[in-house]
């Protein structure tokens, strides 16, 4: 009886949450499959895939591919760096954690447009390729998120767990592969997803440092939205832009649920007596 009541409570709590997330998406989903939708009609008067055809012609597939690669590159860079910083902060391996936190937070404390414009000058002087500069700067912007997610995970994990593995004959690389990464897996997945989203959804840094040559999904969306007022086109690009984010969130939820079903999360490493 209690279990049923708890399940019912979860559903009741989930409904407003779903409405909160879905409400802004409903109009663009409808627009993406509409050929004509005039005010004050509640639903489109004519359905069609005009928006998707125009988005394809505008270069949506290649922009999506660039955004995905950008997100993956940022995740690949910011996650291990965040793990290293999170380890140092979470296990208090540094005596200057306050200063380290300040350095890590600085990129998101300053408005990104100012950061991007300032860095653009430096990047030009350093003759760095634009796409590489975009990846590096976005990785720095993603670092606070990955660091703080992994710092929490490290704090909840006993540092002696790694020492125990070494005292059982495991070399450091084996410890990393067989103990550290499996124990921190949920936090690593979450951090990587956050970093991916930072890379995927960025507009300002890509625009300024990419010099307009690196056309990603958000850039295509922005240029379409500021253009002729072609709502089906804008809606199709918007919907397409959301799909990878939904995939990341769904993947993260599945990983967490699967892990919780099999065993406790990393926080369980602190043993209770």
């Amino acid at each position: 009886m209690n279990a049923r009541r708890a399940a019912l409570g979860q559903v009741v709590a989930a409904v407003p949450l779903a409405v909160w997330f879905a409400m802004p998406l409903v109009p663009i989903v409808l627009w993406a499959v509409a050929a004509r939708w005039s005010w004050p009609a509640a639903l489109p008067q004519r359905w069609g895939l005009t928006g998707w055809r125009e988005a394809g012609a505008a270069g949506l597939p290649s922009a999506m591919a660039r955004s995905t690669l950008l997100g993956l590159a940022v995740a690949c860079l910011a996650t291990p760096l965040g793990a290293m910083a999170g380890r140092a902060l979470g296990w208090r391996l540094t005596r200057h954690s306050g200063a380290a936190s300040l350095v890590l937070l600085a990129p998101i404390a300053i408005p990104p447009f100012a950061v991007a414009t300032g860095l653009d000058t430096l990047v030009l002087r350093a003759r760095l390729p634009g796409s590489l500069a975009v990846v590096l700067v976005l990785s720095v912007l993603a670092l606070p998120y990955t660091t703080y997610i992994l710092r929490a995970a490290y704090t909840a994990t006993d540092p002696d767990l790694e020492l125990q593995a070494r005292m059982l004959g495991a070399a450091p690389r084996y410890v990393l592969r067989s103990v550290t990464i499996p124990v921190l897996r949920p936090a690593l997945v979450t951090a990587a997803a956050m970093a991916f989203l930072v890379g995927w959804s960025d507009y300002v840094v890509t625009l300024v440092l990419g010099g307009g040559r690196l056309v990603t999904a958000p850039m295509l969306l922005a240029s379409s939205a500021s253009g002729t007022g072609n709502e089906p086109l804008v809606a199709a690009i918007s919907v397409a832009s959301i799909l990878p984010l939904l995939a990341v969130v769904a993947g993260g939820v599945l990983v967490r649920r699967g892990r919780q079903g099999r065993r406790p999360a990393a926080a369980r490493c602190r043993h209770e007596w």
Partner: protein
């Protein structure tokens, strides 16, 4: 499976600290022997284990296993297993995979490693929990798995860092029995850090650490009968410290004349008396060596110990207090006057050179220490 472990003049200081955590530590453990390391908190016990394990590198000195120096050997290659205070089971592995971990790290195929692990789980009587997850185990079961896992690494030396301290007394007794079984079956050279003197009594020898130095290394009997210093006596507990004045053939103290083989003429000292060596008697009876006031009592299980403040005695200075173990049924109330009699052999005068710190303490109170002497029956 066991090796001869030796530490020679080992010194270690943590960064940004102003004193050594280990200072000139020299210790040896014979193959298959169990050494217990005791000492107050912060005395360097766990640091000592971590140096032996290779988790800390000593600033000076040598650590040897047999004729091999371990200083340049990585922790995972030393042939040493360590059990920490917490079981530290890997939460993402089941019990069997936890025990099979060392073999897997050595490259043994999973099926073979798991088959071997079953044997070690049998040793700790947990074969039926092989598929369980660590979170499903009780504290005692977790420590038994941790012990099986440590043994499965085939260590020459087993290091135990207060592994049973968080268990309740009944579980601790079970673990002690299990440890004896394991020692009989595998005979690893074992070093165990503990705060529990009863646990330390399992050991072949006990090393007492204080401020990073070994102040005594002896068997339990010698430790209780002849503590090398006042520090050791205080750590063991149950000793009373009495100021003694040398006289011909012994010392005068609050308990009267205490004979000693070679008292140092002219130098006052501290006489240590075990609580079991004293008895409460009638204040005016013929056996009372001294009399005083019961000022407190403590109970540990069925044993009760009274604290008696002895009257000032001629030649022995102002009042002093002694601990007296009471027989069952005898419990003089606080405020009651009693006589005290010395009945046993556990009276000792520590060597002055054995404990500079203690001598300094004594010196501050205007007393001194002289050569050691175990005092026999003074009846």
């Amino acid at each position: 499976m066991s090796g001869d472990l030796r530490l020679e003049s080992v010194g270690f200081r943590y960064p940004h600290r102003d004193r050594d955590a280990l200072d000139e530590v020299t210790l040896g453990v014979a193959p298959a022997h169990l050494l217990a390391v005791v000492g107050p908190s912060g005395s360097g016990k766990s640091t000592l284990l971590r140096v032996v394990a290779g988790l800390l590198r000593p600033d000076r000195g040598e650590v040897r296993l047999g004729d091999r120096s371990l200083l340049e050997v990585a922790p995972e290659r030393r042939g040493i297993s360590m059990m920490f205070q917490k079981p530290l089971l890997f939460p993402h592995l089941d019990v069997l995979d936890n025990v099979a971990f060392a073999d897997r790290a050595a490259g043994v195929p999973r099926a073979r490693a798991r088959a071997a692990a079953r044997g070690y789980l049998d040793v700790v009587h947990l074969a039926d929990l092989a598929r369980s997850r660590p979170r499903e185990l009780s504290g005692g079961q977790e420590q038994r798995v941790a012990l099986a896992r440590a043994l499965a690494a085939h260590p020459q030396v087993l290091l135990l860092d207060e592994p049973f301290s968080a268990l309740d007394p009944e579980l601790r007794a079970t673990m002690h029995a299990l440890l004896e079984e394991v020692r009989a079956a595998f005979a690893p050279t074992t070093v165990m850090v503990t705060h529990d003197l009863a646990e330390a009594a399992m050991a072949d020898t006990i090393a007492v650490l204080d401020e990073g130095r070994v102040v005594q290394h002896a068997d339990i009997d010698a430790l209780y009968r002849r503590p090398a210093s006042i520090t050791v006596a205080r750590l063991l507990g149950g000793f009373s410290e009495l100021a003694g004045t040398p006289v011909e053939g012994g010392y005068d103290c609050h308990l009267g004349f205490v004979p000693a083989p070679a008292p140092r003429a002219g130098e006052p000292t501290v006489v240590l008396v075990r609580q079991e060596a004293l008895q409460v008697v009638d204040e005016h009876g013929p056996h009372a060596a001294a009399s005083g006031l019961v000022v407190g009592s403590t109970r540990a299980g069925t044993r009760q110990v009274a604290k008696v403040e002895l009257d000032a005695a001629a030649g022995a200075g102002p009042t002093a207090s002694v601990l007296v173990e009471l027989p069952p049924g005898v419990a003089p109330p606080v405020g009651h006057r009693v006589g005290v009699r010395v009945t046993g052999t556990l009276v000792h005068v520590p060597k002055p050179s054995a404990d500079l710190e203690s001598r300094a303490d004594v010196d501050r109170s205007g007393e001194g220490a002289v050569d050691g002497a175990l005092v026999r029956d003074r009846q």
